[in-house]
Symmetry: C2
Subunit: 309 residues, 2 copies
């Protein structure tokens, strides 16, 4: 390991360019002795003379010629490091790893990814879809930059910002479309189909029915909302789905969607990231874009919802 400094390389480069200690020193905005000393130091560190000091002129040695080329490469690389830094701080570029829970991903992401790509053309978006605990862990491990989950998360190391609120709606088979709307308590008596363990949406639904979350219930738990709706369509029971899923999930199923009476079940979906993330600033911007995409989606979904009293 050689202990030359970049400063010395700069001085040396200037000296090679000017072939004159005084002028090189002037170009470096230092005094001539300072330059002399640094060059001398550099030669001592390298153990080989960089230049031949003639009486009237300074000439590079053969090694000096090689060295100045190498020095220029090094200096260029160092300057490029500065450029890289500027590029990375001015705008959001490169990879953005975003995690999304499964009860949000299929409905929100198609919009969001399009909008983000429009706003940040140089952004390379990676999506990870899994349940909240895994997302939070991966966020903590630095495998994700941000995650979209149901709030609150209440991790002290994370910042969270709400994106949108959404209602839960009841999904019944089409045949039951005109049956009276069950309330939270009567739901408990019905065959309520739910997602498998780990999904926050399962816990949210159970909580609405004042049921303890935990071990499996009567029927096999589903791994996606699509499956749930298909099961309902087959007459196996009823379920809850988030409002945002309605347009997509009812397209290919003969089910009836009904809203609850107040107090309607609902959840807040938000975005979280490490407080320490250097992307924090840009992530707030991104949250705003996601928020707008969600609002557009909600405006469209609302029209589809029959209001059941």
């Amino acid at each position: 390991m050689i202990n030359i400094t970049l400063k010395q390389l700069r001085y040396f480069e200037a000296l090679a360019r000017h072939g004159h200690f005084g002028r090189a020193a002037e170009a470096c905005a230092i005094s001539q002795p300072a330059l002399s000393m640094q060059i001398k130091e550099m030669e001592e560190l390298l153990g080989a003379p960089l230049l031949e000091r003639g009486a009237r002129q300074v000439r590079l040695t053969q090694f000096g010629e090689v060295a100045v080329e190498r020095a220029r490469e090094i200096l260029r690389a160092a300057d490029e490091l500065g450029d890289l830094a500027r590029a990375s701080r001015d705008r959001l570029v490169g990879r953005l790893r975003i995690g999304v829970i499964p009860t949000v991903a299929p409905y929100l992401l198609p919009r969001v990814v399009g909008n983000l790509t429009a706003s940040y053309p140089e952004l390379d978006i990676h999506v990870r879809e899994t349940v909240t605990p895994k997302l939070i862990q991966e966020l903590g491990d630095g495998q994700l930059d941000t995650a979209i989950v149901a709030l609150p998360v209440s991790e002290t190391s994370l910042d969270e910002t709400p994106l949108f609120d959404e209602r839960f709606v009841l999904v019944r088979s089409a045949r039951e479309a005109n049956a009276p709307m069950p309330n939270a308590d009567s739901l408990r008596e019905m065959r309520l189909l739910l997602l498998e363990e780990g999904h926050c949406f399962r816990d949210q639904a159970l909580s609405f029915c004042n049921l303890p979350s935990g071990p499996p219930r009567e029927v096999l738990d589903a791994s996606s909302l699509s499956t749930l709706v298909q099961m309902v369509s087959a007459g196996m029971g009823v379920t809850l789905i988030p409002e945002m899923a309605v347009p997509v999930e009812t397209r290919s199923a003969s089910v009836a969607i009904s809203r609850f009476e107040a107090p309607e079940p609902r959840r807040t979906v938000g975005m979280v990231w490490r407080k320490s993330s250097p992307l924090a600033g840009q992530l707030a911007e991104i949250a705003e874009i996601v928020r707008q995409a969600a609002n557009n989606l909600a405006d469209q979904s609302l029209g589809l919802l029959p209001t059941t009293r």
Copy 2:
């Protein structure tokens, strides 16, 4: 121009490798605050965070990942500069530009180049053959590393070392082989063929005859010893050549070679280089190799010379 230091790059690289300030500092043989401060300084200079300081671990930012790669490249290039220096100081490598006067080059060089290449396999020898004033000028300009010329040169900026002494011998047509040997004065009366202006050998020959050097004489001046000998062989006159040229030049010409009586004309051929040349040490070694090559050559030449009384 960004003012980061190589030291900072080293610290940063260690930090990236260890992912831990304390251990990285230890690896750098400095205290942890010193490392912290340098990393902080580096981030300020770059204007972008290199790492995310979590409570329990340190993680590179995306930019940090890019930066550490670049940093490694820079550090490697700097270390290679050290290697280059070592290579250039330990032994003579690379280009050696050597100038030789035309009355020496064809006879001495074949041997010398072979010996030099044997001693310094990595040496790349460039030969320039021209007259002394040009050689001296090019030496001064740094276009040559050394020159082999007739001594003395007496340039204060140059060091000179003798290589060998050589006699001048008379070349006559074969028909005149048994004619009495002319002395310096009688030579003046004969048709003495000489090299063109600029060749030191011309001046040396003229000086031996006590003639003024200068403007052309009776016949057209030759540009090489070969031409001179061929002209002599054709009966156009007599000439002097250096002893070393005898074996080569008499091979294809029917001429008689005769030595003068004392005081024999002679010259000293030597090697010169800039006093300031960093190769000075190695050039002295090279001079020794040339000296040996010249001695071998002289031993062989001597046998060929008839001693005329």
